[in-house]
């Protein structure tokens, strides 16, 4: 019984943790959208900043991956 409650809590927590991935999605979309609007204003400067955009995507995506990892840990490792 106690184990079942723990498992339920873990599953609920996993589901809640997955909402963090939505935040990462918003963040990545924001980064790329702003890059695109800037690039369309000044296309000549866009080429040099693509690497910066990817770094930004990586940073914001990593946080979403962290929340996914937390979900996985709750599902399989706790």
């Amino acid at each position: 019984m106690e184990g079942d409650i723990v498992q339920m809590g873990a599953y609920i927590g996993a589901g809640l943790a997955c909402t963090g991935m939505g935040g990462a999605a918003v963040g990545v979309g924001h980064v790329v959208g702003n890059f695109l609007s800037g690039a369309l204003r000044n296309p000549s400067a866009a080429g040099g900043q693509t690497a910066t955009m990817f770094i930004g995507i990586a940073f914001s995506e990593a946080l979403g991956i962290f929340s996914f990892l937390v979900a996985l840990l709750l599902m399989f490792a706790v």
């Binding site: 770094i55 990892l69 399989f76």
Partner: protein, 256 residues
């Protein structure tokens, strides 16, 4: 343990929906059923060796003709070389080019491991945190050593942001130091997490495909996610390499 009962239950239930998204990451010995020791030849060995073979085929066999007008494989090899070379030069600067072979090694290994991992039934070595953590810690340690070796204690000015107001500087220094030490964590978990997430999601959709009603949708979704994973496999290798370059730049030029 809760997980044990969970997995056995799932296996026992498993008439219609069986989720084993994590089974693909199990390390198995290639020969026999013995325990996995330090030097056992496992599927990790196999797939890492295959990525070495892939790199060998692309970069050594592909360029063996040394043609002025390149063949198809040679131009891909040159493209990879030029891509990483330009990245190191742009991000880390001219003096970062000394470390170009190291970054090229990391980039090619991660790229090949990611790509080979996408072959159905393959084992993705880069989805294991142990693997990526070793690479990230190696990058972290070598970058820190390079920083102290090149700049002495001037390397610590990386944490002392002289453009900020004096009151804020100690707080910023604490934040910078924490973020500096979190680097290997995020660096390794980003790669492993991306790989694991993609493969697990594909596996979950594959389990959905067992239900007849939604199997067309599931197969369509697997195809779409597979395409996305192909992109992610490349981008994660790129991101790992470019973050290594960024850290290297911080070590070579710590003054903001």
């Amino acid at each position: 343990m809760a997980t044990e009962t969970h997995s056995t239950e799932a296996a026992a239930e498993g008439s219609s929906l069986v989720f084993h998204p994590m089974d693909q990451f199990i390390v198995k010995p290639l020969f026999g059923d013995g325990p996995v020791g330090m030097f056992t030849i496992t599927n990790v060995t196999l797939w890492m060796a295959l990525s070495v073979v892939a790199i060998l085929l692309l970069l050594v066999v592909g360029t063996s003709r040394r043609a002025i007008v390149p063949s198809r494989s040679q131009s891909i090899a040159e493209l990879a070389y030029g891509f990483v070379y330009k990245m190191v030069e742009d991000v880390a600067g001219k003096d970062g080019l000394r470390y170009f072979p190291y970054i090229m090694t990391l980039f090619m290994f991660i790229l090949m491991a990611n790509m080979l991992g996408l072959i159905p039934m393959a084992f993705t070595t880069t989805s294991h945190i142990a693997v990526t953590a070793v690479m990230a810690v190696a990058v972290f340690l070598s970058v820190t050593i390079i920083g102290f070796w090149k700049n002495g204690f001037g390397f610590l000015s990386l944490f002392w942001i002289s453009s900020a107001p004096l009151v804020l500087r100690p707080i910023l220094a604490i934040i910078e130091i924490i973020s500096y030490f979190v680097r290997p964590v995020s660096h390794s978990i980003r790669l492993a997490g991306n790989m694991m997430a993609g493969h697990a999601v594909i596996k979950v959709f594959a389990a959905f495909a067992a239900l007849l009603a939604i199997s067309p949708f599931a197969i369509l979704a697997i195809t779409a996610i597979y395409a996305l994973e192909l992109l992610v496999a490349f981008i994660q290798a790129y991101v790992f390499a470019i973050l290594t370059c960024v850290y290297l730049k911080d070590a070579l030029h710590p003054h903001h």
